[in-house]
Subunit: 300 residues, 2 copies
Amino acid sequence: MAKPNYLIGVDGGGSKCKAIVYDIAKQTYLSTGLAGPANIALNLPKAKQAIIEACKLAIFNSGLSHLPLEQFAVGAGVAGANDPKAKQALLAWQQPFASLHVTTDLHIACYGAHNSRFGAAIILGTGSCGVSITENQSQDDFLMLGGHGFKLGDKGSGAWLGLHAVQHTLEVLDELSPASMLSQAVIEQSAPDAMQIYSQFEAANSAKFSLLAPLVFSAADQGDALATALLREAAYYINAMIKKLLATKPEGLTLLGGLAPLYLPWLDQTLVDQLSPAQNPPEYGAVFYAQQCQQANLKA
Amino acid sequence: MAKPNYLIGVDGGGSKCKAIVYDIAKQTYLSTGLAGPANIALNLPKAKQAIIEACKLAIFNSGLSHLPLEQFAVGAGVAGANDPKAKQALLAWQQPFASLHVTTDLHIACYGAHNSRFGAAIILGTGSCGVSITENQSQDDFLMLGGHGFKLGDKGSGAWLGLHAVQHTLEVLDELSPASMLSQAVIEQSAPDAMQIYSQFEAANSAKFSLLAPLVFSAADQGDALATALLREAAYYINAMIKKLLATKPEGLTLLGGLAPLYLPWLDQTLVDQLSPAQNPPEYGAVFYAQQCQQANLKA
């Protein structure tokens, strides 16, 4: 097989999948493409489709649609890749690219944030998790915290906040808990009675629950007691993650994901002072990851 | 179609399905049959199979295997029947009996507990919920609390306790929470590391989580802080359910389900004093329900 001329970095999360094309010869990033959710543990066929779609769009937007897909080597950081069975299933895929390298979305976010193989990050988006990659650890042996999905964990994530908001609202509608600003907001955004809310969320995925997360922050800002208690519990957990990751003495620790800026005022200020800003977005990290894998393959 | 000579009462819950045969002419209960879980909202085909199996076993044990199934009218109280779509799907079933009347497992438990169409009950088993049926309310319009399944509710249920025990254990294995008697017990009963526990419980049903519930009670008895906090939260919710159900002025209020006796010391004693013991088990209530439905059909 010919050596690929382009890399594609893919950032596949619980809510969307983003791809970016990188020209190896010119050492420059070209265009991006965006598609739907890509959580390989939750829905592998949908995740594969999202990866293909985002890559093809990025290729199209880069003006390279005339080239065969074998010219592109893909590095993909996808949600759910910490589940070994899911990762194996994705790697077994007969995909059309030159090659496909797979790791977690957290891992590539960390690569991007620090512009380096080393560093630590916490993602606070649809899901939540933390990672630290230090020089002492190999690429496949890094410290990973959380990332167990919103049913068993993902405390502080958008899905976790949304799930608790729904649970609270159902108790309110049963008149077993006093009504709150939060329950009022959930009812306005979803449905007026328990049976309809139950139907909407009974089989809902993390992305659907996550849409309610902003309601928790705004209710807490207005003094809602339950929303405040939820964010305090989440902040307690995130503070513990920060401490645990800092203890690995990473080159830097970055908070990533859509909820990261919203959480800053809730966290321990002495910990926040030790965080570093992200240097590049996750999809750049995915390109960097693909580059590392290609070089390792050449050496092998 | 000939008038059935026998009734079968079915109590279908998240962990097992029990049937009992009743001889209409002799006004006497015959034998019972036991089969697997029958939650029609979670797994309809499996629930149908469990209903058939429990009924056939009960018929066999009653020495009536020579009779055609059209001689038996079934009253079934099944978990998940509060979900209108699930109930509709079960009623659409071309089942082999003279007739099939469907309501919730809670409803027939209530019938059985009070030996009457009227009364209130709280089930604390694999799931949790409360109901009150008073003379002012028709058979299909009773006050129902909770019963939203362990993903969105079922606070205090075995599944809810087990889920929280697993979430806590995963945090402990990430070293984000201090180890506890409860996490130690969960690890001993399931697996020693986070990835194995994740794999065991990631797609687990309520019955599987519920197996961990006794660990929470025993850890709390030994002073475990997290287990104690969980049971206090559950007791707060159950107390609120009791108050709300007592406010409907029911003929009696009974606590049912495998966890009911374990919760008694955790509940408000002045509320416990207002509870009444169950007169008959839920499957008797299902027979009584079938009787009511047959009589209503005759009148119609």
